[in-house]
């Protein structure tokens, strides 16, 4: 039944978008983390989406997070000689998180999530309407 597949499709998109929102939250929270578990400054993370066709159904494809990549751009250098993490020239390597980019990413993720919720609601109302046939 095609309409039930919409729940799978939209559901996969919603979990993918919420994972994207999760990385945005992680990036924003760690925008000032000078060190991380590996001793290096925190690096911004981005999710990579890919379309996966549903099993036995070529017409519909859901979304999955293929991988989480780390932003390879160089860390931001801040002059702060008093900081214990400063190098010999007095510069501290700060995370390469771009707060503006992250905010844009956040808005985009939340809008896409809302779109999928709307899709699911429409599918649900169509199914409910289908159940009224013959009544």
């Amino acid at each position: 039944m095609s309409l039930f597949n919409i729940f799978n499709v939209s559901g996969s998109a919603m979990s993918a978008q919420s994972q994207r929102l999760n990385t945005v939250a992680s990036n924003l929270a760690n925008a000032e983390s000078v060190t991380s578990s590996n001793g290096q400054p925190y690096r911004a993370k981005q999710v990579v989406f890919s379309a996966v066709p549903l099993a036995g159904n070529e017409a519909a494809s859901g979304v999955k997070v293929q991988q989480v990549v780390e932003d390879s751009s160089p860390p931001r250098k801040v002059y702060d000689p008093k900081n214990p993490a400063a190098d010999e020239k007095g510069y501290v390597s700060m995370p390469n998180v771009n707060v503006v980019e992250e905010m844009v990413n956040m808005i985009s993720a939340s809008r896409s999530y809302q779109n999928n919720v709307e899709t699911m609601n429409t599918a649900k109302s169509m199914l409910v309407k289908t159940l009224t046939i013959g009544q």
């Binding site: 095609s2 309409l3 499709v9 070529e58 859901g62 979304v63 289908t130 046939i133």
Partner: protein, 135 residues
């Protein structure tokens, strides 16, 4: 008489089936709005319905493959014998995604409404039949 009963409902049954499948394709488009390199898809509803009503909705003929190395003659995804095509691009995007959210939402709402219209029609037909049976 049973055959006639079946014929009465056949049109809207075929229409509902195809509407549900199209809804699923459109839901995939909306779900993959942020997936890089995803191409929005849709099919010719008029042709699909004509095919379904003419009951020649068989899949296109496949070539016999006696070795796995042989190329498949025609392995395009079809719905009621109509190929699932790709949308033409209105505005290109940097990640090669061709989903135009305005167009998709428009088609999605339109398709849902037409689905519900078909359900209303089929319910009315059932009421008609019941009135004829019960007098």
């Amino acid at each position: 008489m049973i055959g006639k009963l079946d014929d009465t409902l056949a049109f809207h049954e075929a229409a509902l089936n195809l509407r549900a499948q199209r809804q699923q394709v459109l839901a995939s488009n909306i779900a993959n709005a942020d997936t890089p390199n995803y191409k929005a898809r849709d099919f010719d509803f008029t042709k699909a319905l004509q095919n379904a009503l003419a009951s020649n909705s068989t899949e296109p003929l496949q070539m016999t493959r006696t070795s796995p190395d042989h190329l498949p003659g025609n392995e395009k995804t079809t719905i009621a014998g109509v190929p699932l095509l790709y949308r033409t691009v209105q505005q290109g995007s940097v990640d090669n995604n061709t989903v135009d959210m305005d167009a998709e939402r428009n088609q999605f709402a339109d398709n849902a409404l037409r689905y519900e219209a078909s359900i209303t029609m089929i319910s009315a037909q059932i009421k008609n039949l019941l009135a004829a049976v019960q007098g």
